[in-house]
C-alpha cells in the first residue's frame, strides 16, 4: 500500500485479453495522470469498453497489469470502486427502482455522499423522484446514472461513451459535469467516446485505439501540433491517389489533394515534390481528420 498518493490515477501496462479467438486488447499501455481529463478515442469495437471493464475489475487481464490508484481492481474491488464513479454505456440501472430509492440505496455505500449536492443535481437534471427507472427516457436514464456517479465526488470519474444516443441538451450536461469534476482539486476524468468534437473540447490527454491496440497517445496539444494538413497541387490531374511516402492518408480529386502527415513534414513535402506536387497550404489538422487518417492507414 502506498503511503504517498501515486501520481497516476490509472496505470495500464501490457494489458492483453482475448475472447475466444478474438484478440480484444493487444498489449495496451497507458497512464492517466491525476487531475486531468483523459479521452480514449476509437471506432466501435476497438476495445474501449473492454479496457474500461478491466479498470473496474469486471474483466480479468490475461497478461499485463492494471492499477487504479495503486490498487488492483480484481484483488481489491472495494478500494477501487469506492473511489470511482462509473457511467456505463448500457445504462444498466435496475429498472424496478424509483429515482429516490436509487439515490437512497447508492448513498448507503459511499461515506462521502453529499445529500444536498445530489438533490441539487437531481433538480438541475429535472428527474422526478417518484418515477420508476423503467419509465425514464434514454436521456433521463443517462442523467440518473451520471447523478449517482457524481454525488459522492469520486476521485476518478469513468465514463463509457457517455454521449451515445443522447440529445445535445443532455450532452451539454455531461460535458459540464466533466469540466466541473476536473476543476475541483485533483479529481480525474477518464472517458471513452467516438464523438471527436467533445474529446477535442475537454480532453487534456488522449489515446487512440484501433483493433485493440493503442496507436497514439499523448497530450491533445502535442497530437494536434504533430499532425499537419498539407494541401498539394499537382500539375497534371491524378486519376488515383498519388503515392506520397510519410503521409498517413491522402484524399481529393483531380489536381488538388489533401494529405495528413504525422510529424514527418519535410519528408512528406520532399516526397510530394518527387511525384510532381507542390504544397500550396499547410494547416493544423482537426482531431476528426487525424482519426480518419489513422483509420485509413490501419486498414491498409
Amino acid at each position: 500500500m502506498n503511503t504517498s498518493a501515486p501520481p497516476c490515477a490509472v496505470e495500464v501496462t501490457g494489458l492483453s485479453r482475448t475472447f475466444g479467438s478474438k484478440l480484444a486488447l493487444n498489449h495496451v499501455s497507458l497512464q492517466v495522470r491525476r487531475g486531468r481529463v483523459f479521452g480514449l478515442v476509437g471506432a466501435n469495437g476497438a476495445g474501449k469498453t473492454t479496457l474500461i471493464q478491466h479498470l473496474l475489475g469486471r474483466l480479468k487481464p490475461e497478461s499485463g497489469l492494471v492499477r487504479v490508484f495503486g490498487f488492483d481492481p480484481v484483488e481489491d474491488p472495494v478500494a477501487v470502486l469506492s473511489r470511482t464513479g462509473y457511467l456505463s454505456e448500457n445504462r444498466d440501472l435496475p429498472a424496478w427502482m424509483r429515482v429516490d430509492e436509487l439515490l437512497r440505496y447508492t448513498a448507503a455505500f459511499y461515506p462521502k455522499w453529499d445529500m444536498a449536492y445530489a438533490e441539487a443535481l437531481r433538480q438541475q437534471f429535472g428527474l422526478d423522484p417518484r418515477a420508476k427507472i423503467r419509465t425514464l427516457s434514454r436521456g433521463e436514464n443517462a442523467k440518473a446514472g451520471l447523478l449517482i456517479a457524481l454525488a459522492y465526488r469520486p476521485e476518478l470519474l469513468l465514463l463509457d461513451e457517455p454521449s451515445s444516443g443522447l440529445d445535445p441538451v443532455v450532452r451539454r450536461d455531461i460535458l459540464e459535469a466533466i469540466i466541473r469534476t476536473v476543476a475541483d482539486e485533483g479529481r480525474t476524468v477518464f472517458f471513452s467516446s467516438h464523438l471527436l468534437e467533445e474529446v477535442e473540447r475537454v480532453a487534456d490527454d488522449i489515446a487512440m485505439m484501433f483493433n485493440g491496440q493503442v496507436v497514439l497517445t499523448g497530450t491533445l496539444d502535442d497530437v494536434k501540433e504533430s499532425h499537419h494538413r498539407l494541401i498539394l497541387r499537382f500539375d497534371a490531374p491524378q486519376i488515383s491517389p498519388p503515392k506520397v511516402t510519410g503521409v498517413l492518408s491522402i484524399t481529393g480529386s483531380g489536381q488538388e489533394w489533401t494529405a495528413i502527415c504525422n510529424g514527418k513534414r519535410e519528408e512528406a513535402m520532399a516526397a510530394a515534390a518527387r511525384v510532381g506536387g507542390r504544397v500550396v497550404a499547410e494547416e493544423s489538422a482537426s482531431l476528426d481528420e487525424i482519426f480518419v487518417a489513422w483509420a485509413g492507414a490501419k486498414t491498409e
Partner: protein, 530 residues
Amino acid sequence: MGIAGLVLAFTVVYPKLCALAGFDPNNPDPLEEVAKSSALQSAAEPSLLRIGQVLSMLFLACGPAVTMFLTLLCVVWMFTYTELDQRTKDPMRFPGRIFTLPVSTSFLFWWLFLGGLAAMMVFYASWVYLIPQPRIKIFGMHQNCFGWMALMVLAQAIAWTLAAWPGTRMLILMATVFYFLGCIDSFNFFECPIVLPLGAALAFAGLQKMRHGQWQGLTWKWPLAVLAACTEWQGPKRFAPPAQAQVWFEWRRFAGTFCFITVAMALVPGVIRLLARIVFSLEPLSGDMMDGFTVFLVFLPLFIHFCVGASPARSDQSFLMVRPLTNGEMVMPMLKTAAISTAISWVAVLMALAVLNLLGDFHKVAQGVSPLPAVRVAIVLGLIFLTWRVAVVNLCFMLPGNRWIATMPVLLIIALGAGIVVFYQLEQYGGYWHPLSRILPGLLLFLVAVKFLLAFLSFRVSLQRRLFAPNDVVNYLTIWVVLVAALLGTLALIHPARESVFPLSLGVILLVPLARIGFCPIALACYRHS
C-alpha cells in the same frame, strides 16, 4: 421435438418399468394399490428404503399423467407464440417483427389456431393411446381432448388481448390454468361448446388490436397501486449500514415478489372458497379435495422458493457488481432475505391451513399424515427448513452466470429421482439391505467429512482473497450450528429406532448447507471478474 422425444421415451420405457415394479397400470384404482403396498410396510419403522419404494411407486402411478399435463401445457404455451423479451423482461411478448411481414392478420391467426389444435390432438392422442396410463380419478377429469383445446384457445385469447397489461395477463393466465388443473367437480367449464368459438373470436380480435397498437395506454390506477405498495417495502429514510441497504435491494429484487405470490396463492383460494361457502352454503369439501389442497399448501412455499433459488435472473446484476461491496457482503443478504421470505410464507401457509380447517374435515387429513401430533410438528418444521434450504443451496450454481453450471439444480433433482429408481431396482434383489445398512453409517460419515473438508477449503480461500469478512464467516457458522441443533431436536420428536439415530443425524448434518454457502463468494467472483 422435446415433447415428441418424451412421448417416445415413455412409450418404450414405461411398460417395462411397470412390469419390473409389479405394478399393473390397468388396475382400476392404482392409488389404492400404492397405499396398500405402503400400508404393509408401515408396521415397520419408516426408513429411507420404504420411503424410496413408496416414492417410486407414486412416480410410476402419477408420472405419465403429470408428464402428459406438463407437455400439453407446453404445447399451449408454444402456440401462444410469445417469448421472453430481453429488453423489457416481459415473459410473454409477441414478436413484433412478425407483423412487419407481408401476411394478413387472418392468416396468422388461422395458422396459429389450427396449428395449435392439430398439435394438441396429435400429442393428446399419442399420450392416451400409445401409453397404458393408470386411471387415477383425480387425473381422469382431464382425459378430454376438447377441454385441452379449449384451454389452448383461451390461453391464446388471454395472451393476445391483454398484451398491454403483462402483469394482469400473467395473473389471469395463471388463474385459468390452475382452475383447469384443479377443477375436479363434475362440471367442466372448458367442455362447454361455446368456449372454443368464443375464445377463438377473442384471440383474433386480440391479435388484430395488437398488430395495430390499440388497446394500450389504459392503466389500472388504484388497485394495482395498492397492491404494489403492499409488496414494496420502502425501507427506512436513510440506510445506515450498507448491509441494510443490500438486504432491502435483495428483498425488492427477488424475495419480496415471490413471497407475495406465495402468500397470495396460499390464502386467496381458501378465503374465496370460505366466503363462497358462507354465502352460497356449499357443503364441506370432500376428503380427496382436502388432501389435495393440503398437499398444495404444504408444497407451495417449497416449490416457489426453489424457483427463486434456481432462477436464472439471479446472475443478471451488472449494476450490483460495481458497488463497493465485497462478495461476502452480497451473499449474506441473499441468505437473510431467503430466511425472511420463508418465515412469512410459512406463516401464511399455517394461516391457510387454519382456514382449511373451517372448510372440511381437516382432522382426518392430519390423521392420514401421521397419528402422532409430534411427528406432524416435526414434518412441518422439517419442511420450513427445507424451504429455506432450496432457496439458498443453489445460489452457488446460479451466481457464476454460466449457462451450463446453472443447469446443476435441475440435474441434481433428476439424479435424486434416478437414485430412488435405482433403490427400487435393488429391492428386487432382496437381502441387500443388511450389508447396506452396515456400510451406510460409514458412507454418511465419509460424506460428512468431505463436506467439512470442502467447507474448510472454501472458507479459507474466501478469507484469503478477502471475499468474505471474518465477521460474516463466524455469523454463518453460528447459524449453521444452531440450525443443526434445532433439526436434531426435531428429529428426537419422531422417536426413531436406536440403530437409525446415527445415520439420520449424519443425514441432517449433510442437509444443512455449509460448503455450498462457502463457495458462493467464489462463484460470485467468477461472474464479477470474468
